[in-house]
Amino acid sequence: MGIPILSLILLCPVLATAAVMLVPAGRDQMVRWISVAFSLLALILSAIVWMAYDQTVGGLQFEEIVPWVPAVGITWHMAVDGFGVLLVMLNSLVWFTGVLTMWSLAYRVKEYFAFMTLLVVGVYGVFMTQDLFLLFFFYEIAVVPMYPLILIWGSTRKEYAAMKLMLYLLVGSALLFPALLAIYHVAGLGTFSMVELGRHTFGIEFQKFVYPFVYLGFGVLAGMFPFHGWSPSGHVAAPSAVSMLHAGVLMKLGAFGILVVGIRLLPEGATYWAPLFAVLAACGILYGAFVALRQTDFKFVIGFSSVSHMGIVLLGLNLGVLGVASADAFNGAVFQMFAHGIMTALFFSTVGYIYDKAHTKTISDFGGLGSQMPRAVTIFIIAGLCGAGLPGLASFWAELLVFLAAMKTYPILGAAIVAGLVLTAMYILRVFQQAFFGPRNPKWDGLTDMVGWELLPRAILVAVLILFGFFPNLILGLIDPTTQILMEGF
């Protein structure tokens, strides 16, 4: 591969950040155009990567290796496998639609887009890098801008939420940090390359000891029950596009980290702990759904639904480790990362729209909104149905695969989770009924529905959901070879 296409993708947000910073004050429109141009470029490049990725071979492709700090074995090692391709695409999509969603932002535009693109840099980095150090580096880069983004442009209890998010996530990294260093030093290879570390077999006792740190550390970001507390309040407080990135992409970083660091490098430790974590994940699924049932704020409902849905991802990962139905579980988990990413992005994008118009997110304030905003409501309903696991939308397949593995591994647990789907439907329908259906509320007569370019980002996301809802093999074909390779480790 002559062209370092991954670095080019990564360069897009970097350049966007720099360019945005250099724009003279007051030229907000220019900032927006720069952001959208770079995000579009990244989207196109991601699509090229997807197309060019050789699915028959699988494994890592588009490798770029440049020594970075050779003395301690840090390498600029970029490469993607099937998972990476999918998640890079996810990030590009969410970034692009996120920029469009925030088009009408008027307060401190320049800083906003600078921070947001910085976040995107981190996310791309994590999905692409094969170096343990760089992984952590980008991981933290992705987390950090959340603070100012929520603090400055947020709403509901934003200061509390921003600080809580920061503390939770950084405590998570604090658990992770010694674990990653220990992996490096115990392997004694003098390199952070995950490819090489993956070839090293760690002692079983060491794996058992260090795996929980990795899992919990990344798990916090993945919204793992019971350490999910930051996530709903963070979602609620963040501005729309940040919620999109946050729930759509950022939480996937945690799951991705568990996958590439925890499971790939410490398979035996993962196996040892998987039953416990699988049960916790299952609890998270049901717990999130129950709590969502009691929320009065749109975004809180979605926030807890994220906890629930990310539980499915985590469950899939742990079931995959247990090896009874590994392929289904891993495929399902990764598929769910993508599907949930698009779905929540759509959720937040739409809720953000409604909030921008109505200046409230309290469900009971609405009622009959379907009359005034049919398009926005339709889009929200599509996202909601996706959340409820309706066939024809992407997350159905993901959930199906995970459930299949769950039923095979732990039939009772699996059955309980499948039954939990009813709860999902309950809280989603509750929102529909309370906010969108019912008599027309004259209070909202002045609200305008989405038009033209406002529709564009949401329409893209809807199209993606439907596309992969009907053609799941597009994704499964991409990730299955990688899953097969992953399973050889067990």
Binding site: G229, L404, L421, A425, M426, F432, F437, G438, P439, D480
Partner: protein, 608 residues
């Protein structure tokens, strides 16, 4: 023509129409209407072409593969699919035609017609599905279309509540179905229906009877939800909040029949488990009796019909469970025809009088809508099982299959249910044609427009002639036509006639009390009019339980997890304040602390 291509045309034309209408025709009602009707017509033609082509080989391709899972996508062309597919396409098309008149004034017509297109796609996709998962997908999509159509008038709180209830209750059933399918996939490694049904290599050879019982009962949960069997039946009466054509199409003729269809589809599996058969029979017969009793005291025209649907679906299930495949399918198809007829008639009344109360309709001159009333009476008679109408034949088959199966108690109860059915059906008929007070002379009652009457007349004729399909149906299903002696039909005929007579005694004759014989027993009357308290139990037990759980866990979230984290933060900050107070500003204390620590460290170092 290759049947697969034809099937694709049949199934996907409505989808294309739906998508086009939703995306581009939100304002252009007429175009949307034309699109959907055109799609419906194409489906009808295609479905009948398929039917005429006769059964042929199953065709499928692999749609998705991941690890152990391999989902195929394709079509089955056996008698069951072909016949029911044709019925679905036909009734869908008729209802669409009918809707032109019925929904004429509705501002959201496009959405309505588009949703009918969506429904047509989903339902046809389900009927021809070759893979259990494929079936499940379309099954869910059918439910989705139902959800939107019930809640079509979403500004009505009762409509949106009904839509939600329908979705949730069927979802509960679907949970069982999904678990069942997942278990089947896990056990057999496949979900391809013909392969599962294979007598030599299919599912029955893989598992013990106990497991099989579990599997089919889980699937039956889904059927209970979709086909509104006790205890998951309560959504169907509420679903009458939707537009009446929708009730005709989805909630009596086709969608609710999907459960029965699935049962028929997996018939061999059910037959392999004695326990499952018994459970199904018990539930079905109980449902039949219960729904009939409720219908006896209900005054809402559509709800009476809804309860009768529940009862008839129970009959079908009972027949299928008793081994009467032909009987079940026959009743499925014929019921679709005459129940659609009844609903369309009801719709015709409701459209005109704008009330659902059948006494009111009768009083205001319902019988003057002659064509409609004729349809209602013929449909009602068919439902009651009066010869020689369609319902007579199918119900006769049902009862015969019960007695042939040796389930005599069930047969007897079914007979009683048939009696009740005739009773409440004619109660309805007499309410409308023999109102309790003379009609006003100048009432300007006229019959509905041709576009409404057309489908009604078509279906009336079909109801009259319906019995004739028995032979061809048996042929296409590759089953034998049973022959019954007149004597064996006698109990059923007598029951039906008795039902009609009692109804006339209670409601029809000029000195009738119009309270019905149940009115004499207040306890029963209350039980029936409160719908056997099923909804109340749900409200009291499940809804409250879930609310309680939600509240408790919400408290856990707020007080324990969030609160705990906040307390931890508070404690840390408090410790910080305390630590900062160590910095007392008194320099001698600083030095002293240093000296003490150094002394301790020195002691430690020196004494090792």
């Amino acid at each position: 023509m290759n049947p697969a291509i034809l099937a694709i045309v049949v199934i996907f034309t409505p989808l294309v129409a739906f998508a086009t209408a939703m995306l581009f025709c939100m304002k252009a009602h007429r175009i949307a209407q034309g699109l959907i009707l055109g799609g419906g017509a194409v489906s009808v033609v295609g479905a009948f072409l398929l039917l005429l082509g006769g059964p042929s080989e199953t065709q499928s391709i692999v749609w998705l593969s991941s690890g152990s899972l391999e989902l195929s996508f394709g079509f089955m062309f056996d008698g069951l699919s072909l016949s029911f597919g044709a019925v679905v396409a036909l009734i869908t098309f008729l209802v669409q035609v009918y809707s032109i008149g019925y929904m004429h004034h509705d501002p959201a017509k496009t959405r309505y017609f588009a949703l009918l297109g969506l429904f047509g796609w989903a339902m046809l996709g389900f009927v021809y599905a070759v893979d259990l998962l494929q079936a499940l997908i379309f099954w869910e999509l059918v439910g989705l279309a139902s959800f939107f159509l019930i809640g079509f008038w979403y500004e009505k709180p009762s409509a949106s509540a009904a839509a939600r209830k329908a979705f949730l209750l069927t979802r509960i059933g679907d949970t069982g179905l999904l678990i069942g399918i997942l278990l089947i996939i896990n056990i057999s490694g496949m979900a391809h229906i013909p392969a599962l049904l294979d007598a030599e290599t299919g599912l029955t050879t893989m598992v013990s009877e106990g497991t099989l019982t579990l599997l089919v009962l889980l699937i039956f949960m889904g059927i209970m939800g979709k086909s509104a069997q006790f205890p998951l039946h309560t959504w169907l009466p509420d679903a009458m909040e939707g537009p009446t054509p929708v009730s005709a199409l989805l909630h009596s003729a086709t969608m609710v029949a999907a459960g029965v269809f699935l049962f028929a589809r997996l018939h061999p599996l059910f037959m392999a488990s004695e326990t499952a058969i018994l459970v199904v029979l018990c539930i079905a017969i109980f449902t039949a009796l219960m729904s009939a009793t409720i219908a006896m005291v209900e005054t809402d025209l559509k709800k009476v019909l809804a309860y009768s649907s529940i009862g008839q679906l129970a009959f079908m299930l009972a027949a299928l469970a008793a081994g009467g495949l032909l009987a079940g399918i026959l009743h499925l198809i014929l019921h679709a025809v005459f129940k659609a007829l009844l609903f369309l008639c009801a719709g015709s009344y409701i459209h005109h009088f704008e009330t659902n109360d059948m006494r009111e309709i009768g009083r205001r001159g319902g019988r003057r809508m002659r064509w409609t009333t004729a349809g209602l009476v013929i449909g009602g008679a068919s439902l009651a099982g009066l010869p020689p109408l369609a319902g007579f034949f199918s119900k006769e088959e049902v009862l015969a299959s019960l007695s042939h199966g040796g389930y005599h108690l069930i047969w007897f109860l079914a007979l009683f249910a048939a009696f009740l059915t005739a009773y409440y059906t004619f109660r309805m008929v007499f309410f409308i044609i023999l109102p309790d007070r003379p009609l006003e002379a100048d009432a300007t009652v006229h019959d509905s427009s041709p576009v409404i009457l057309g489908p009604i007349i078509f279906l009336t004729i079909a109801t009259v002639l319906g019995g004739l399909i028995l032979g061809p149906l048996a042929a296409i299903l590759l089953l034998d036509v049973p022959h019954h002696s007149l004597l064996s039909m006698l109990p059923a005929i007598l029951c039906a006639l008795a039902g009609v007579f009692v109804a006339w005694w209670d409601f029809g004759r000029s000195r009738a009390t119009r309270r019905g014989f149940v009115g004499a027993v207040p306890v029963l009357h209350r039980l029936f009019s409160r719908k056997w308290y099923v909804d109340d139990v749900y409200q009291a037990v499940f809804a409250r339980f879930i609310q309680l759980m939600a509240t408790v866990l919400h408290r856990v979230e707020v007080d324990l997890l969030d609160g705990g984290a906040d307390r931890l933060a508070d404690v840390t900050r408090w410790t910080g304040g305390w630590t900062a107070r160590l910095q007392s500003g008194w320099v001698q204390a600083y030095i002293a602390s240093g000296v003490v620590v150094v002394a301790l460290a020195g002691y430690f170092l020196g004494s090792r």
